[in-house]
């Protein structure tokens, strides 16, 4: 069986500085994988490399065995990989409903059609409504996304990413800036939405990480220093030193 995502000696430099220094990682199909690491380690960069936002400087990214390095984001998306962003990245002037629908249009094979009336596409609209229901925004669906509260926007962010039914979903700090109760809701949502799919996420909230992940990789200075089950990671000396540090104190 080929892995959902396979990184081979992946490298990325910005100017003279190498940020990602030869990452090798394989994420199995259906796995929930978390990437943790100190600030600036390159987690978001890694995400950008996989999803096509940045071009790689070396190495390869494969999705289901197919090399996708340096493809533009939309090509990668079409191959079944969808992601959310650390900094909220939605369509602020469009309604919540339209936001989600945009995430669905390509996979429903509308492409750049200018001969379908979108409001008449029953299946598409029903599916949109379903997704909105799942992320709990049904009562807000006609409001412009820009005026949602922060937590709602985060939910929408995840919703757009998950809507298209891609089989690999990548979430960058999905719970950043949320309060405790909101975080709990978010975990439930992520769990539900990624049912039966591959999930890759970056998180600083260890609660979330240990709660959700099947496996955790620790990225430090652009290198993966450990990749293991949550228990083993929690107990690993190296990881504690590099990342968790004073965590034990509290």
């Amino acid at each position: 069986m080929t892995a959902a995502i396979e990184l081979q000696d992946l490298r990325k430099s910005f100017g003279p500085t190498e940020i990602i220094r030869g990452v090798n990682l394989s994420i199995a199909d259906g796995e929930r994988h978390a990437i943790i690491g100190p600030n600036g380690a390159g987690k978001s960069t890694l995400f950008h490399l996989i999803s096509g936002r940045y071009n790689v400087s070396g190495g390869t990214v494969s999705l289901h065995g197919e090399n996708i390095s340096n493809l533009p984001p939309y090509e990668i998306y079409r191959k079944g990989l969808s992601r959310s962003f650390q900094v909220t990245n939605i369509f602020p002037n469009m309604s919540v409903f339209e936001n989600v629908r945009c995430g669905l249009m390509w996979v429903h094979d509308y492409k750049y059609s200018f001969w379908h009336l979108i409001d008449r596409q029953k299946e598409l609209n029903e599916r949109t409504a379903e997704v909105i229901e799942e992320i709990g925004l049904t009562s807000r669906q006609h409001i412009p996304a820009g005026v949602l509260t922060y937590a709602e926007q985060r939910a929408l962010e995840i919703g757009i990413a998950a809507a298209g039914g891609a089989d690999v979903i990548m979430l960058d700090e999905p719970t950043a800036g949320m309060s405790h109760s909101e975080t709990d809701q978010a975990i439930a949502l992520i769990r539900k939405i990624t049912e039966g799919r591959t999930l890759v996420m970056v998180e600083h909230d260890m609660g979330v990480v240990f709660d959700l992940a099947d496996r955790i990789s620790v990225l430090v200075y652009g290198e993966i220093i450990a990749s293991d089950t949550p228990e083993n990671i929690r107990n690993s000396k190296a990881v504690q030193e590099a990342y968790l540090g004073a965590e034990a104190e509290e």
């Binding site: 990245n89 629908r101 996979v107 990413a161 298209g164």
Partner: protein, 432 residues
């Protein structure tokens, strides 16, 4: 599952009749207009309006819907016009037969072709780069039109005759009224098409790319292609408008594709409101009215248009349509009535002040541009002596008193506005 279908977008659930009603109204309006304004000037103005409505709407496919600020949209309009006028001449010369009233199709096609050519490189980027390319292409085309005389006719442009070729039920479109109905027909069809375009996946994605081009790439769409599709469609409709222009004026010149025309369409769309589908329609109508009516009464009408434009950008960035749309909340709550009185109370003095300001400008203008010693002038049917003391006192009084009264009314107006827009006492939420 049944629960879900209940929450489906209301657009799908909307009864067909309700969707069609505005269109039927629009259709009837188009038919009725020439009976209301039947004068020569009226017809002329409405014909121009029709052309600009299409043109401005096509422009808004770029700016309002696609977030592409273009300073060269007249290129497609002008090329459409030139192509059409050439075909008119081919028909006249008997080179081939084709009904004259379908000529704008050729305009549309050339608009589309150039949309494809120019769009293929200009839509690669958005923002300033796109805007500057459009500016460059616009200037390039305008300058070329003076060089390639065979196609563009140089300084004089190309003229044609619309009365030849197969006619439509005995009508050969010699009279303005015939052209009116022809334009009206095209307006109806193209407005409907452009509206429908905004409701297609391509149209929706144009909005998405405008809002956040990067994210659009992460839901499977190439931002460049999305812009390209809008750009071509917009070129097509601009070309049709150009074709109608050719039919209406029977001449097309360099001006049809120069920066001034590009600027005008931007102005129309923006004054009307780029955020709304009907915004550009409102803008085109108002602009044409100002242009053809106001210019009958005053030499300095462009000064007024300029002031209007700048004030619009400053205070109502949503455009004039935006002002109406601001009232939808109050309208739904049936509270618009409560605003009428405050509006009147502030509006009447404001009108007086504006009259005063206009009188001031007109009088100054008259004093400067009339022949030495000529002081009699008239404005709005009032004759007076531009050098008389009384006239100046009246002007001053209008401005000062009007201004003062308007100001004094503003707090009340604001309060009334807030009252009318206060959300009704929080009822039970629809659940979340």
């Amino acid at each position: 599952m049944s629960e879900i279908s209940k929450t489906a977008s209301p657009a799908t659930a909307r009864p067909l009749m309700k969707t069609l009603l505005p269109w039927i109204g629009f259709f009837i309006l188009l038919l009725a207009l020439p009976n209301i304004f039947s004068s020569n000037v009226g017809l002329y103005t409405m014909n121009l309006m029709g052309i600009f409505v299409i043109f401005a709407l096509s422009y808004n496919m770029l700016l309002g819907q696609g977030g592409m600020l273009s300073f060269g949209h007249a290129v497609y309009f002008g090329l459409g016009g030139f192509m059409s006028v050439h075909f008119m001449n081919y028909i006249e010369d008997g080179d081939f037969t084709f009904p004259m009233y379908l000529i704008p199709i050729f305009g549309g096609l050339i608009g589309l072709v150039f949309g494809i050519i120019i769009g293929s490189f200009s839509t690669r980027r958005a923002g300033t780069v796109f805007a500057m390319i459009s500016l460059g292409v616009g200037e390039l085309m305008a300058a070329s039109s003076l060089i390639f005389v065979a196609f563009f006719g140089g300084e004089e442009g190309v003229s044609g005759d619309r009365t030849t070729g197969p006619d439509l039920m005995g009508i050969n479109f010699g009279q303005d009224i015939h052209i009116y109905y022809l334009i009206a027909g095209w307006v109806f069809v193209t407005v409907a098409l452009m509206y429908l375009f905004s409701r297609t996946p391509a149209g929706r994605m144009a909005n998405a790319v405008r809002d956040n081009a990067e994210r659009a790439e992460f839901v499977g769409y190439s931002q460049r292609k999305v812009r390209f599709v809008s750009f071509c469609a917009s070129g097509f409709f601009a070309g049709i408008a150009g074709g109608l222009f050719a039919l209406n004026f029977e001449i097309v010149t360099e001006e049809n594709l120069n920066a001034l025309t590009s600027g005008t369409v931007l102005l129309m769309a923006y004054i009307g409101g780029v955020g709304f589908f009907i915004g550009p329609i409102v803008g085109a109508v108002i602009f044409t009215l100002l242009q053809s009516i106001l210019s009958n009464y005053t030499d300095i009408w462009q000064l007024y248009v300029g002031i209007l434009f700048v004030l619009t950008v400053m205070y109502v960035p949503q455009g004039l349509t935006g002002i109406f749309m601001m009232h939808t909340a109050a309208w739904r709550m049936r509270r618009v009535g409560s605003l009428i009185l405050p509006y009147l109370r502030a509006g009447v003095p404001a009108l007086a002040m504006l009259t005063g300001i206009a009188a001031f400008l007109e009088t100054i203008h008259h004093m400067r541009s009339s022949v030495e010693g000529e002081t009699a002038m008239s404005m709005m049917g009032v004759d007076f002596d531009s050098h008389s003391f009384v006239a100046w006192i009246v002007i001053l009084a209008l401005v000062v008193v009007g201004g003062y009264l308007t100001r004094s009314q503003l707090p009340q107006l604001k309060e009334a506005w807030e009252m009318a827009n206060k959300p009704p006492a929080q009822r039970e939420g629809a659940g979340s």
